[in-house]
Each structure stands twice: as C-alpha cells, then as structure tokens.
C-alpha cells in the first residue's frame, strides 16, 4: 500500500468522511442481498470492526446481538441471533450485504440498514430529534462496513 493510500484510510476512519474511493450508498449493487465487491480500496481491519460494533454511537450491534468472543461487552441485547459462527453461515459478500442493508436479505428486518441514505420516513440528524442539517450520511462509512465484515469473517465455530 502506498503512503498516500494509508493516510487516506486513516483519515476516513478518524473523520468518518467517506474517502473518494468508496462506493456511494446509492451506487451499491445488491444481488439477492449480496454485495460482491468491497465498498473501498482498503482491506477491512477486524480490530476496528470490533470498535464499530461495540460503540453505541457507531454500529452498536451489541444492542441486539451477543458475541461470545467478546465477553467484556456489558449487557449485550438478546433481540437478534447471536453472531457466533456467522462466518460459517454466510459468505463475505452476503455479510457485506447484511451489514449494509439487512432488509435486502431479510425482508422487513428489524435490523437497521447501516449503509443507506434514502427512503426514510422523517429521518433525523443522528440522535438529535431534529431534521438533518444537510445530506443524510449513512450510519457507517464504507470503510467501517468493511472493518465490521472483516471481523465477522473471523467468527467461525
């Protein structure tokens, strides 16, 4: 990886601004729920994936899912299936599709779409309760989605 690319990747994580190389949420192609190609040019970082999944202001996956491999997470929710062994059940392309927009795989799912910017009823600007100031960003950046997928791929029974 070139130095420039590394810098761009680091910036996209810290500033949560989509890097130029990210496929925009509105341009993502789903085939039967799957997203075949990476949303970014940078491989996912599983360690950051854990951070995204366990941080309330980011993915907050543990609000609904338990993960036995992360015993330090306090009070995970029990709304959704445990994520243990998820990599045995789903391919990388399927997992990317589920995290980006689970409703493409599970019709009417309760699971929020983390990489979607349109088609909402009264969307707010984050958790402010007010209308968004400008364009609605996706909940997670493309790189954060890739990081989460990279971590999910480690969850084998």
């Amino acid at each position: 990886m070139t130095r420039q690319l590394c810098l761009a990747a680091a910036m996209s994580v810290t500033l949560a601004t989509p890097a130029l190389t990210e496929t925009a949420p509105t341009d993502v192609a789903y085939t039967e729920g799957k997203i075949e190609t990476s949303l970014t040019a940078t491989p996912g970082d599983p360690a950051n994936g854990i951070t995204v999944m366990t941080t309330a202001a980011l993915g907050n996956c543990v609000a609904c899912h338990t993960i036995a491999a992360l015993p330090d997470v306090q009070f995970p929710g029990d709304i959704a299936p445990p994520l243990d062994g998820v990599a045995d059940r789903w391919s990388e392309a399927e997992l990317r599709g589920i995290v980006a927009n689970a409703k493409m795989t599970f019709e009417g799912s309760f699971m929020p779409a983390f990489y979607k910017t349109e088609g909402f009823i009264r969307p707010g600007g984050g958790y402010t309760g007010k209308a968004p100031a400008g364009d609605l960003p996706p909940i997670l950046t493309g790189q954060q989605i890739e990081d989460v997928v990279a971590y999910l791929l480690t969850l084998k029974e």
Binding site: A56, N60, V62, A63, C64, Q74, F75, P76, G77, D78, I79, P81, R89, W90, S91, E94, K103, F106, E107, F110, P112, A113, K116, F120, I121, R122, P123, G124, G126, Y127, T128, G129, K130, A131, L136, I139
Partner: protein, 287 residues
C-alpha cells in the same frame, strides 16, 4: 453456506420463543401503601378486544423494572413523585388568576378530577377537539384565568398533571376508541406502526415484536402509558407520556413530533387504548 428465507425464519422463531421465556415480565402484584389506606393496582390484564390477535395479556411497564424501582412504588412515602403531587395541590389552591381565581374556586377539591386521567385523551363533546389532561388544564389557565399557557413541559403543568392523575389512581384506563374518537384513534394506530427514522423502527418494532427482550441493558416493556406521568429516576423529575414518545422517536434517528402536536395526541390516544383495563398508577416510578 446459503440459508433460505424459510429455514432462517424457523431458526429465528425458535430463538424468539426460547428468548421470550427467559425475559418475561416479572410476576408480582402492586399494592400501594397510601395515606388513605392500601390501594390495589391492576398491572396485568386481558388484552382489549382489538388487540386479541396480537397479544393475550397487557402488562404495566412496572413489571419490567428492577426490584428496587418496583418497590419505590409500593409506598407513597418512598415514591419521589409524591412531592410533585403536593406541589400540585398548593398550585390548585393558589389564587393565581388575573382576577384572583384558583382551580379550587371553580372545581372545589382535586377529587372532582377523578376519572379524567382514566378517560383521556378524549374528544371534547362541545368542540370536537381531542383533549388530554394538559389541554384541559391549559384551557382553564388561559381562557378562564387570563394567564399565559403553561405549555407542556413546564414545572407547573407537571405538578398539576401529577395531582390530577393521582385522582384516578386505581381506576381502569378506559379511553373511548369509537364514535367521535375513531378517526383520531386510526391516525394514532397508523403512527404506531410507521417505521420512522434512519433506523426504520416503529413503536411496534420495540414494544410489540420485542417486548420482554433486552435492547442492550434496557428490558423492553409493552410501552404502556397507564403509569404516566412517571417519576423518572434518571431525570429526577416528572415525565409525561408524550415526552416519553419524543425520546423513543429520537432513538430511531428520526425527526420527532412535538408534545401537543396532532400526531402525538392521536398516538397517545391509541397507546392509552392498548392499556384499557390496566389501572391508572397516578405517578409511577421508572428508572
């Protein structure tokens, strides 16, 4: 590798059933020690007719709270919400109107308000408007006492709401959903099932489909409003039903409606009707 939608559905259904047992609302009964004696509150009841296909039994949010929080509601001396009821009584008797009027001057004792909390929101026969307790209070404050409206979240309104709600403690919630109320009720129902915000969640997503489960550390109740207003330990203050709605809608990353909006009033009527048969708790305690 590939799971078809149907095998997946059976899998989650299995999980759902297993999960429901583990996180059921606690079995307990609520008898309150009050100055006037003990008050038995109905916190579990058969679901109202229109909900029969959805749930069998309705539960007060009290059943989903921790032991210590539930205990605070068993004795009025321990219930921090009673301070607000006392303040409401002072306000009731105070000559605050521009011509020296007081609530007591027109209505005598606060017990004249018995039943109001149990039957509101309701359609006012004279005006055809949907009225909550707050709407009635503000109508008196402005039209009859010549004051500025108290608004919905001010301390005077909350003190008065606490006092008035206490007069219906122990009465079954019994809001009308037919006749003049029907169109408001339908609108509230539609809102209840609308998936708002960037998280695309409806009231039903949390309080119907997932009641009894944990969303992070929160034990999801049926989202009933029979306990409102509640004393919320987290805020050390009184919270009205529509303020709770604001918080819940905000949590879906949505632009919320405002308290006293047509939307939230209709929603309050609909949600209240889902609790028809549960006791009004006066001022309940939640964490």
């Amino acid at each position: 590798m590939h799971r078809t939608a149907t095998t997946w559905a059976t899998l989650t259904l299995g999980l759902a059933l297993a999960g429901a047992v583990a996180a059921d609302p606690v079995e307990d009964t609520l008898v309150v020690e009050a100055e006037e004696g003990t008050v038995d509150l109905v916190t579990t009841a058969p679901a109202p007719e229109f909900l029969k296909d959805t749930v069998d039994t309705i539960y007060s949010g009290w059943h989903y709270r921790e032991d210590e929080t539930r205990d605070l509601q068993r004795d009025d001396f321990d219930n921090p919400g009673m301070v607000f009821v006392d303040r409401g009584l002072d306000l009731w008797n105070a000559t605050i109107g521009t011509d020296g009027q007081s609530c007591a001057g027109c209505h005598e004792g606060p017990e004249s308000m018995a039943g109001l909390r149990a039957t509101t929101p309701r359609v006012d026969a004279k005006t055809g408007a949907l009225m909550t307790v707050e709407n009635y209070v503000d109508a008196c404050v402005t039209d009859r006492m010549g004051l500025e409206a108290w608004g919905w979240t001010g301390s005077q309104m909350k003190d008065m709401l606490a006092l008035i709600s206490m007069q219906s403690r122990g009465m079954p919630v019994n809001v009308a959903i037919d006749g003049a109320a029907a169109s408001f009720w339908e609108k509230g129902k539609e809102l209840y099932y609308t998936r708002f915000g960037q998280l695309e969640m409806s009231c039903a997503s949390c309080h119907e489909d997932n009641q009894g489960r944990y969303i992070r550390a929160d034990h999801l109740s049926q989202g009933q409003v029979n306990g409102f207003p509640v004393y919320r330990l987290k805020d050390a203050g009184i919270l009205s039903a529509q303020q709770r709605f604001v918080g819940c809608v905000r949590d879906t990353r949505a632009e919320t409606f405002k308290p006293n909006s047509d939307e939230f009033k209709a929603l309050e009527l609909y949600v209240a009707s889902r609790g028809n048969g549960l006791s009004v708790e006066g001022v309940s305690v939640r964490h």
